[in-house]
């Protein structure tokens, strides 16, 4: 998936240390906007949203000593494009012990693009409980929204062309931390 193709150029948007700083900043913003992350649950969207949510929780703990519950929410069964592709394998859904009812849920994903993943996540949330409010944190917002959805916390806005693609690599899933823009020259 992350293999660079020879015929395309690729540009590193965030290096490993940039990425860490961006995660730190989002963690601070969450603390600020949620008055100390009270009643807050972080739910990562598989695959890369899950380690990102865990990192955010770890940073929040490091900054303020607060333990924010972390979980994952797989949205595969709620996708609107299931019939356009071969069957997808499911990711893990693991809600934190206390559940999400009455809590502030922050959805965490790597890239915000069409907004369809987030729509599916909102549908999935609706079936697992009734949060008091839902927010969205993404590492990269690359634009080209197809639905009226915006993020509350954005690591980096990257203006992209439709033919380009944004590749987020994380140590947990890909062995290194990096955000790359590929497919530039066309």
């Amino acid at each position: 998936m992350a293999s660079p193709r020879a015929d395309t150029t690729s540009k590193i948007i965030l290096s490993g240390s940039d990425l860490h700083r961006v995660v730190d900043r989002i963690a601070h913003q969450i603390l600020e906007k949620t008055s100390g992350a009270t009643g807050t649950v972080l739910l990562g969207i598989p695959t890369r949203g899950v380690p990102l949510a865990q990192r955010l929780a770890a940073r929040i703990h490091a900054f303020e000593g607060i333990d924010v519950p972390v979980g994952s929410l797989d949205i595969t069964l709620y996708r609107d494009d299931l019939r356009l592709h071969a069957t997808r394998a499911l990711g893990k859904t693991e809600l934190p012990g206390g559940g999400i009812d009455g809590r502030r849920v922050i959805l965490v994903d790597d890239v915000l693009y069409s907004g369809r993943t987030v729509r599916a996540a909102l549908d999935a949330l609706n079936d697992v409980g009734r949060p008091q409010s839902v927010q969205l944190a993404v590492l990269v917002d690359r634009g080209h929204r197809q639905l009226p959805i915006r993020a509350d916390y954005v690591g980096k806005n990257i203006p992209t062309a439709l033919y380009e693609s944004v590749r987020v690599s994380l140590t947990e899933t890909d062995g290194l931390d990096e955000v790359k823009l590929t497919g530039g020259e066309k």
Partner: protein, 349 residues
């Protein structure tokens, strides 16, 4: 992904593992308040049941409904079948109604294979004659994996009427694919003479030899029809290594070594001849009672596909013990069938 699930031999180890993993995710749904997913909205699943069934039909119905598919239940009783309609004509009717999947149970071995050549949708075998019952094998494998943590290397005894059991056949195929070893236990009259040959694809489909024209005639499948040279719908033979299957006629000597004991129902409705002298003798030699259960290792589990003949192949105290997974198997059945329906119907057709 495969299109049909006609036989446990349709599944290679990777596909079977994917189904079991998916079933694990589906199982989480049972603990939720809203036990419904929008995944198969607008898809139609037909339950085509030519044989009586409680748990399998209800299980498939629950699975399809939890995935938001529309479910049409068809049972031979009270339908045009009692007016003499053939399986093919029924199939064409379903085709015209736009069924995306047909779940079929039929007394004729090979009926799902024939059906798959007549309809565009996916065909799922919910039990055909004495041939196969692949979703039962999947839910059994899922139950074993969730209780014992693994399948590779497990020692499984399948006890009882192996000869007439589609559950046994599908389990042997699936469990050996997933690396377990199976011991078939029962009276010599209820174990196939040559186990390897009985499981090979040529004899697997003796049923389709008796599909005269397009008319499936139930109840004639047990006869000695020669296997067809190239049975329809079978892509490749499944090699079962004989090393993974053992046969024993003595239950007591097998038990101390087993991780799983699967008791089969004595299928009186499929037995025209007498295969054992009396029910009492069968029960004494091959029934699982408390004394026998104590011979099992500490961790071993007891399974039964249901419906049980309490007191015949399994003692009530055993069926209700903590080692018994019988109720769990029913719950897991819904998850396993949801996984199958999702993987067959969820993607691009």
């Amino acid at each position: 992904m495969i299109k049909h699930l006609r036989s446990a031999a349709d599944l290679d180890a990777a596909t079977a593992t994917l189904i079991l993993d998916t079933a694990g995710e589906m199982a989480a749904l049972a603990g939720r308040e809203v036990k419904k997913l929008p995944t198969l909205r607008g898809r139609t699943v037909v339950n085509l049941f030519y044989e009586d069934s409680t748990r399998t039909r209800i299980s498939f119905e629950a699975a399809a409904k939890r995935l938001s598919a529309d479910v049409i239940n068809f049972s031979a009783k009270g339908s045009s079948v009692s007016k003499g309609e053939s399986l093919k004509d029924t199939a064409l009717t379903l085709q015209a109604m736009g069924a995306d999947a047909v779940v079929i149970r039929h007394s004729a071995s090979g009926a799902p294979h024939r059906l798959a050549s007549w309809v565009d949708g996916s065909v799922i075998n919910a039990g055909d004659g004495t041939h196969e019952h692949p979703t039962q094998a999947l839910l059994d494998a899922y139950t074993m994996r969730s209780r014992l943590g693994r399948l590779a290397g497990l020692k499984v005894a399948i006890v009882g009427d192996v000869l007439h059991s589609r559950v046994a056949r599908s389990n042997v195929l699936l469990l050996t694919t997933l690396g377990a070893s199976v011991t078939l236990v029962g009276p010599p009259t209820l174990i196939p003479n040559d186990v390897a040959a009985a499981l090979s694809p040529a004899t697997e489909l003796t049923g389709s030899a008796s599909l005269r024209g397009d008319r499936l005639i139930p109840g004639e499948m047990a006869g000695g029809f020669p296997p067809p040279a190239n049975p329809a719908g079978v892509e490749k033979p499944t090699a079962i290594s004989p090393a993974a299957i053992a046969v024993s006629y003595d239950l007591d000597s097998v038990l101390p070594d087993m991780d799983v004991v699967m008791m089969l129902r004595v299928q009186t409705e499929r037995m025209q001849d007498s295969y054992f002298p009396s029910a009492r003798e069968y029960s004494r030699r091959y029934g699982l009672d408390l004394a026998r259960m104590r011979k099992l290792p500490e961790h071993a589990i007891v399974m039964h596909p249901g419906p049980m003949n309490r007191g015949m192949e399994i003692a009530p105290e055993v069926a209700d013990s903590s080692r018994s997974t019988i109720v769990e198997q029913v719950a897991n059945g819904v998850s396993a069938r949801m996984a199958v329906l999702y993987l067959l119907l969820g993607g691009k057709a």
